[in-house]
């Protein structure tokens, strides 16, 4: 609906005094047809229970007619209400048909009056409600409430089982821990091979494997792993043809050297390390 403020003379139903002030209509101010009807009804200055619905219907229809004359766009609600009131008016003016279905014209009029009364009653109630002292407007709570301090008392839980499990596991873990340490000192094949390759690069002639290994054995407990890994790595390098390995007899020292360039003589009579 457009937002104009309209001022116009209402039509004059019979029961209105001629000096009735002009109805100033702010159409947008109305909250629907019922609101408009209520505003019109108040012009009758009688108790809503005794209001003339016929007069009210006339007033409403005149209003709508006037609004349409100045081409005011009216919401459908208003037109529906107008049609219904026109129907009600004709029913009220005509004699009641002898055995009509549905509510009588009087009942319809009363129902409308009741709706108006209810709307008016709720408006009155809402006024009274809003006029009550309101919080933060008229009455105030404590401006500086004091907080309640929370003191937390911890209650610890632990069972004897927790305690014993923790103790046993902890002590046991410490005892077993040294075994784990020993394991970590294993000399890997990769490490052994890398070291041998470095050595082969340096020593052209026969070298004693165990003498060389001594440099790597800091901890006597590691002797076995270093020796085993180096021997395995050396065998691997022999297979690849990179080095030669020589041992005089079982448990004798192992000698190794970089494999010299292949010659027939050398193949026939390899020179041996000197003891």
């Amino acid at each position: 609906m457009s937002a104009e403020i309209l001022s116009f003379e209402t039509g004059r139903p019979a029961d209105f005094a001629a000096d009735e002030p002009a109805l100033v209509v702010d159409v947008e101010g109305y909250e629907g047809p019922l609101d408009l009807l209520l505003a019109l009804a108040r012009q009758q200055k009688v108790d809503l229970a005794r209001i003339s619905i016929l007069a009210l219907a006339d007033q409403y229809l005149v209003f709508i007619e006037a609004a349409r004359k100045i081409r005011l766009e009216l919401a459908a609600d208003y037109l529906v209400m107008a049609a219904w009131l026109a129907f009600l008016k004709s029913r009220l003016l005509l004699p009641e048909p002898p055995n009509a279905d549905g509510p009588s014209a009087e009942e319809m009029a009363t129902a409308l009056a009741n709706r108006l009364r209810r709307l008016e009653a709720i408006r009155e109630a809402s006024n009274r409600l809003m006029n009550r002292p309101q919080l933060q407007r008229d009455i105030f709570p404590r401006g500086e409430p004091e907080s309640i301090a929370e003191i937390r008392h911890p209650r610890f839980t632990a069972t004897l089982f927790d305690l014993l499990t923790a103790y046993a596991a902890q002590r046991q873990q410490r005892v077993l821990a040294s075994v784990h340490l020993a394991k970590r000192t294993v000399w890997s094949l990769t490490e052994a091979r890398a070291s041998l390759e470095r050595l082969v690069g340096m020593a052209e002639d026969w070298s004693r494997l165990d003498e060389y290994l001594i440099n790597y054995v800091v901890d006597p407990s590691q002797k076995a792993t270093v020796f085993a890994s180096s021997f395995a790595a050396a065998l691997e390098m022999v297979r690849e043809g990179a080095v030669e390995l020589h041992q005089k007899q079982a448990f004798a020292p192992l000698y190794f050297r970089k494999r010299p360039p292949q010659t027939f003589d050398a193949m026939a009579a390899p020179d041996l390390p000197v003891e």
């Binding site: 909250e31 009653a121 002292p133 407007r137 105030f140 404590r142 409430p145």
Partner: protein
Amino acid sequence: MASLAEKRKADVEEGPVDPRARPEELRLLEALLFASSEPLDQTALAKRMPDGVDIKAALAQLQAEYASRGVNLVRVANKWTFRTAGDLSWLMTRESTETRRLSRAAIEMLAIIAYHQPVTRAEIEEIRGVITSKGTLDVLLETGWIRPRGRRKTPGRPLTFGTTEAFLSQFSLEALSDLPGLEELKGTGLLDSRLPSGFSVPAPSDDPALRDDEEPLEIGDLELALAPAVEPEKDDGN
């Protein structure tokens, strides 16, 4: 209770009184209620007070003592709290924070929800004779004064609305039965739109327990209804 309270008040204020004779429980109650930022109910107070104190009687006495003061002990939503006296609002204007100004439509809608609850949006529209804009409902929900409380067991299962404790607190109402003009409204038979006049009219109720024709909200309903200030009791008894 009132007469007991008056009698006690007379003892305290009018007799020749040794200040130490004022029961200690009044000091404790005073302190608790002054300190709290929220109204406290009798159970909460009892929890904090020494055993064996008649909380109800003490509250009545305290209320009587403070009745004529600038700060009154009031009961809102069955909870107790100190508030400045209503007649001093002229003095307090500077304390007033920006108060929300509700539109006429929102005020009417609030009143309809208060007096007719539980009530659906369609029922509100029937009373007002006009479609409610969604914005109006949103504004009301934002105040925290109304809440969706269930769904009506009718086709479409519309949400039902009711008021909250914050509503009672805002308008200094002890209970919904203190709504102004409620008795007259009930007397006219206009309160319930669904009943022909002459029938007994159900009183509005903000009892969180659902009515026979209501069913509980579902998960997601609250988000749907945009409820930043939904009451904690939303899950109660539903």
